[in-house]
């Protein structure tokens, strides 16, 4: 049953995408519904199975590793799959209004959207490095057309730059994989550790450097984030939400898998993890400052993504310390709560952009009267981004602070606090701009506001409330996530 569910998670959206390009309205509706609606049900089955039996492999076609290509499911993968189902699902409902399935724009949008969903699900389940390369490419080649969909000059420019850098990143990753296969004779993430420990050190360093560089570029980790803000800010609303909440995290997820599951725990590896964390700290501070300087709402939110991704790398140097379980819980909780909150912010920003015709901060005045619910979603999601209680973001940041304190990594403590302060500053800057009431010359800004479909408002509000609720539902989730990679890094 679980095996069928795992295969369904990948193939239902894929088949749905094929159905949407068939002629006729019926096929389009059928493709979208059959591709997206069953995902939560399948996930319930997978979650129950993982909670009961622990992590498991699925050997496709009965071919065992190393020859066969395996799927692997564990709590981290289940968490990511749920994020795809929930965030992707709500963003899809939001997109339904802007891209009606029967319209020409919808016919371009939905096949790409379903393929992207399928590719992300496949990535979170794959255990084979080359299979993961194919998934990364599929994600790139479906996410970028979605950005360019509006056809505006800004969007096409952002898409082109993203594409060139993403192709370079893929090639670096592929070169790393080629060297890795030569050095170890395996591509399986979970068979690699012993082979890596026995391989010549120079080959291992080159391999890991190339793979990590490719992933850092795809994950828009400072200082390789240059493509992200414009690409995320110029995409249609639901696409921005999925890009920031899910797509960039696929690269971070793979960094976790490679470094925590597959690399032997040595001193050199520990130094590499510290280096990654320094990049994360850079992202947190630089992204936060740049977010403060932006003049447009969507750019503020996009730079906030650059900053918030930094948290995910900050946990890495604690992998060998006694504080690791706490750090891991904080990291995974940050994955979840940032995903929910950021998707809520982008959907709310899309509503505001539609209603006002502009997302310049200077045009947001009296937003509380013009778009009260969108502003509410923005503010509630902002609470989670800042890390104020009782949100999911608060819990994530609290766990990270706790772990940094316990492991004695004082510099991490300072970075974490500074990052939260910057986040508070840029969120309050948005709120201040929205509540302003100057400019009496303007006739009546409330009357100029276009109405937004209630469904679109509801999607943003629901995601923001979920980000808040993540703070309350923590105990069972943290128990489910567990201590991270099994026995990867020996912990005293």
């Amino acid at each position: 049953m679980t095996n069928e569910a795992l295969i369904g998670l990948i193939f239902l959206p894929l088949l749905g995408a094929c159905a949407t390009v068939l002629p006729g309205r019926f096929a389009t509706y059928l493709g979208i519904l059959s591709g997206l609606a069953p995902l939560p049900l399948l996930l319930v089955a997978v979650t129950l199975s993982v909670a009961q039996n622990g992590p498991g492999f699925l050997e496709l076609g009965g071919w065992a590793a190393p020859l066969g290509i395996r799927l692997f499911v564990d709590p981290l993968a289940v968490l990511m799959l749920w994020m795809v189902a929930i965030i992707g699902g709500l963003a899809a409902i939001h997109a339904w209004c802007d891209f009606p399935p029967a319209s020409p724009s919808g016919q371009r949008f939905w096949p790409l959207w379903l393929l992207l969903t399928s590719a992300m699900n496949a990535l979170f389940l794959s255990a084979d490095l080359f299979n993961l390369y194919v998934c990364l490419e599929l994600i790139t080649l479906t996410a970028i057309p979605l950005i360019a969909l509006t056809g505006s000059k800004t969007a096409v420019r952002a898409a082109m730059r993203y594409l060139l850098l993403a192709l370079l990143a893929s090639l670096l990753y592929l070169l790393g994989v080629a060297l890795l296969y030569n050095a170890t004779g395996t591509l399986d993430l979970y068979l690699m550790r012993d082979a890596l420990a026995a391989a010549p050190p120079a080959a291992v360093v080159a391999t890991l450097a190339l793979i990590s560089l490719g992933l850092l570029l795809k994950g828009a980790v400072f200082p390789l984030h240059v493509w992200l803000p414009k690409a995320h800010a110029s995409a249609p609303g639901p696409v921005s939400a999925v890009l920031s909440a899910l797509v960039v995290k696929t690269a971070i997820y793979l960094l976790y898998r490679v470094w925590l599951w597959s690399v032997p725990a040595t001193v050199a590896a520990e130094q590499a993890l510290t280096l990654l964390a320094i990049l994360g700290a850079g992202a947190l501070l630089y992204g936060g400052v740049l977010a403060l300087l932006q003049q447009r709402l969507k750019l503020v939110i996009a730079y906030s993504t650059v900053a918030q991704l930094g948290y995910l790398l900050l946990i890495l140097p604690m992998a060998s310390s006694g504080a690791w379980p706490v750090a891991w819980q904080g990291g995974t909780y940050q994955l979840l709560s940032h995903g929910l909150a950021k998707a809520a912010m982008f959907l709310a920003a899309a509503n505001i952009l539609h209603a006002l015709g502009s997302d310049r901060l200077s045009d947001l005045q009296r937003l509380d009267q013009r778009q009260p619910l969108s502003l509410f979603a923005l503010a509630v999601a902002g609470v989670s981004i800042m890390g104020l209680p009782p949100s999911g973001g608060f819990l994530a940041k609290w766990l990270l602070l706790d772990a940094a304190f316990r492991s004695g990594q004082w510099w991490l403590l300072a970075v974490l606090v500074a990052g939260s302060l910057l986040a508070a500053a840029y969120v309050f800057r948005i709120l201040a701009a929205s509540l302003r009431r100057d400019d009496p010359t303007e006739a009546d800004p409330v009357a100029d506001t276009k109405a937004i479909p209630n469904v679109q408002t509801a999607c943003a509000v629901l995601l923001a409330l979920l980000a808040l609720a993540a703070g309350f539902a923590a105990a069972p989730m943290i128990e489910f996530i567990g201590p991270g990679a099994p026995g990867a890094w020996s912990r005293p």
Partner: protein, 109 residues
């Protein structure tokens, strides 16, 4: 390692290097795409050479990887060319402005 494998390895490295150099040097998008394809060709050559099997039959896994890689490279190039055409129609330009410029620029256009 036999001498012919060494020639292939060197060629792979040179082809990859030329591609990387060209990608970083040129501003023309079409050239950059060609360079990306060159780099891909270098990696494919490397994979085939490394899987050549000095004493036994060649390893089939790298060959399968290269086949898949070629399919991906072709689709990525096709999409990139379509996007480039669109970009050309929009602005009558075949270049992007410098990355540093786009990043530091905090205003919309």
């Amino acid at each position: 390692m036999n001498p012919s494998a060494l020639i292939y390895l060197l060629t792979a490295a040179i082809v990859f290097g030329i591609g990387l150099h060209g990608l970083l040097q040129s501003r023309q998008i079409l050239r950059q795409l060609l360079c990306i394809n060159l780099m891909g060709g270098g990696i494919f050559l490397l994979l085939i050479t490394l899987g050549g099997g000095a004493d036994g039959p060649p390893d089939p896994v790298p060959q399968a990887m290269v086949l898949t890689g070629i399919v991906i490279a072709v689709s990525a190039t096709a999409f990139a060319l379509a996007l480039l055409l669109r970009w050309h129609e929009l602005g009558d330009s075949t270049e992007l402005d410098a990355v540093a410029n786009a990043d530091a620029n905090t205003h919309d256009e």
